[in-house]
Symmetry: C2
Subunit: 344 residues, 2 copies
């Protein structure tokens, strides 16, 4: 905290009234019932002394901090930071401030963050839950902490969430590939227990099944987050030149896409002629690739704003559970040939 600032008391003394009255005037309470001249005088002095209310004191009394806690995976990555940006924006518009932290996909770090944020008396939490944090989320529920899960949720827990319809979104991407004539389609995804990731795999397999394309085990590459680059290199090599080579690859995250594209470029596989590619999430830099990738565009802005809105509702009216599934848009670019059939 900084300096010695003017307090209600200072104003009260200067004007010669009680602090109560100053508080009422400055908060526009008891509207008509205050002497106009006194009110005017109070406002004038507050202005002169450059009065700034101490939110800490206010919070202690009112039990509201107008602060939201945000747990992202890693604020340094694209998806997290643009999400944070929209959340901040929406919160700001409603006079809330956001405190954030990165879990780094580590449940212990996530727990520590949640505890820190709660000790700071945030009014509610927005959480991108890492793998292994289900019990922590269940705890929050038990304590009746208002919160909204974003991006990831747990099907066994009846909580507020805003997430992608991962099944339909990936299914849509794979159907687009099939419609464009591709039949040997690989999926590069993360090895994780998180529901939203397994949904992506399910959408992939459903699209194949819909079209009676038998799934080959070697088409599914599950990458370990802690060993990303080597495993992606290996996966792409196998998909491109292994026993069951593919003619198309779907990536289920931005990081996987960028690193995968690098490998594809390294192997001099021609996109889309030898290999089609579908990426995940938006990045300005996709356009630097010679064949800008077709990608699933998550409605990040809507996710951020909606989650914030739902949280604020949960904070004020502590009843209803809201679960929102949004679909990604498929943005078709040069990395996939245009669809042959349009009746899908």
């Amino acid at each position: 905290m900084i300096g010695k600032k003017t307090s209600l008391k200072d104003i009260a003394q200067a004007v010669g009234v009680s602090t109560a009255l100053v508080s009422y005037v400055l908060n526009n309470k008891k509207e008509g019932r205050i002497n106009k001249d006194v009110a005017k005088q109070i406002r004038k002095v507050a202005q002169e002394l450059n009065y700034q209310p101490n939110q800490i004191a206010k919070s202690l009394k009112t039990n509201k901090t107008f602060t939201l806690g945000l747990v992202v995976a890693d604020i340094g990555n694209q998806f997290s930071s643009s999400l944070a940006r929209y959340i901040e924006d929406e919160a700001d518009a409603r006079n809330y401030t956001v405190i954030y932290g990165s879990s780094e996909e580590n449940p212990a770090k996530c727990q520590k963050l949640i505890t820190t944020l709660l000790n700071r008396q945030v009014d509610g939490l927005l959480i991108c839950a890492p793998d292994g944090s289900e019990s922590q989320i269940a705890d929050l529920q038990r304590q009746h902490v208002p919160f909204v899960l974003i991006d990831r949720y747990f099907p066994n827990l009846k909580t507020n969430y805003v997430a992608l319809d991962n099944f339909q979104s990936v299914r849509k991407a794979v159907l687009h590939l099939i419609d464009s004539g591709y039949r040997r389609i690989g999926l590069v995804t993360f090895k994780t227990g998180l529901f939203h990731i397994s949904e992506r795999t399910r959408g992939y397999r459903a699209a194949l099944a819909d079209n009676a394309i038998p799934f080959k085990k070697s088409w599914l590459k599950e990458i370990n987050r802690d060993n990303l680059k080597p495993e992606i290199a290996k996966a792409i090599l196998e998909l491109a030149t292994g026993k069951n080579p593919v003619d198309a690859i779907v990536f289920t995250s931005n990081t996987l896409s960028i690193n995968g594209l690098k490998e594809i470029k390294k192997l001099s596989v021609r996109v889309p002629d030898e290999m089609a590619v579908v990426s995940f999430d938006e990045t300005e830099a996709y356009d630097l690739f010679y064949a800008p990738p077709t990608y699933l565009k998550q409605p990040v802005e809507e996710m951020g704003r909606l989650a914030t809105t739902i949280l604020l509702e949960a904070i004020t009216a502590n009843n209803r559970i809201t679960q929102a599934s949004l679909e990604a848009t498929l943005v078709v670019q040069a990395s996939t040939k245009p669809a042959v059939f349009t009746d899908k």
Copy 2:
């Protein structure tokens, strides 16, 4: 704020002592001078009741919130978010929490953010100051608010800052181009009054002058942030095909680089044969370009951590001014031919 949590009073009542004693024990004050058994009992009950201190109350009393305010340009962009990430990390290690907001390069928004953060009683501020915010920064100084400027600073203001040595860094990049045989070198930068940007232009012109290369006005393209894409398109077109075409371009920001590269790609100008390119800042996605750009790598991690450290020092010991200029590293990649002379 959430739920009714256990307070010091609850513990005091359960154990049958005063709240003062509970406070002392839980804060490890008055070390030896407390009855071991009583202390043990207090800790046990605190544990059982899952006591979590109310930081708000603590802050009101101690006048410390252990919270830092961060103003970035736009948390959604790469430089800001990776800076935020390291600041968060360093702050966390010292038990501070970070509240943030984006100025969007708008001085009015910056002022509003600063006020909000101060009302929330942050212990200090980390600020990426937008164009036109100099008077706000001077105000902070007058009020003795501890703060550190990051990335940008005002030469007329004697404040703490951590910034790039923009002059030397860009000069180094241009010298590399000259050493590699390029002589007609353009600079694509922002049109702004911010000192750090004009320093980049100064570094560019100094490198030309050092080598007796006469500067041509049409080589310097100053882009308006609010009309970015059209102006970049126009600038690249002119640099590539205008009256005084260049054989090399230096970009002074990540956004400029990516958009510039897109235009270069669109015009089918071959890099580095027809045109060399030097970019600014690091992005994974640079590697998607067929000729991964040589770039100036800002020491973002060091900037973030150092700024945080300096701020914490300013908070505790309110004297010394620290000004740190760090140099960027030139990472040479395929977008520039290797240097011909090495004796520079």
